[in-house]
């Protein structure tokens, strides 16, 4: 089993602050995805990173895949209340996905 550890588990910040969420493993993945999940709904795909060292930007969100394809980070600049939700990372290996336990983000106005 490929384990993915996410940190922090919980994050409560004020609107306008920056934050980084980490997703770490001792295993290599062929790709890594980040999802956001709202209460009572299914996860929604934010981004997929495939190449070691890859950096992708989605408006105020920056995603990075580690050089060795074992870890990833999600950085949010100037967080807004609309960013509130559960952020999940998922690594893909041999047709399977392995999810981290998630980071619950609360952005206060």
């Amino acid at each position: 089993t490929q384990l993915l550890e996410q940190s922090p588990q919980f994050l409560s910040i004020q609107e306008g602050e920056n934050l980084t969420v980490y997703c770490n493993s001792s295993s290599v993945f062929s790709s890594l995805q980040w999802y956001r999940q709202e209460p009572g709904e299914g996860p929604v795909l934010l981004v997929t990173v495939v190449t070691g060292g890859e950096v992708k930007k989605l408006k105020r969100l920056t995603f990075q895949f580690g050089d060795a394809r074992k870890d990833s980070s999600l950085h949010i600049t100037a967080a807004q209340p609309g960013d509130t939700g559960l952020y999940l990372c998922a690594g893909a290996w041999r047709d399977k996905f392995y999810f981290g336990s998630g980071t619950k983000l609360n952005v206060k106005p």
């Binding site: 999802y35 709904e41 996860p43 998922a90 996905f97 999810f99 336990s101 619950k104």
Partner: protein, 111 residues
Amino acid sequence: NAGVTQTPKFRILKIGQSMTLQCTQDMNHNYMYWYRQDPGMGLKLIYYSVGAGITDKGEVPNGYNVSRSTTEDFPLRLELAAPSQTSVYFCASGHKTYEQYFGPGTRLTVT
């Protein structure tokens, strides 16, 4: 554009009963997955399929069965329901292992 649909949305089962959770996708995706999500946790893979007629076990397959007779449908069968199967179940599909599109989930309680 329906995407991934799941039925039912909610269900309460008594211990020992059986049921089938339905999942249908209209995106012609080959890959389909079933997950369970316990409160405050990430998702655990139950079963997956890379195409019609092909299924394989994930991390937590015990107590469940699947079939994949068509590209569109991937039902999950629970036999002899147990309280440990109380969870939210999500179905997902994707073109390859670069993406997954999730359904809205089925909230199951076994009492």
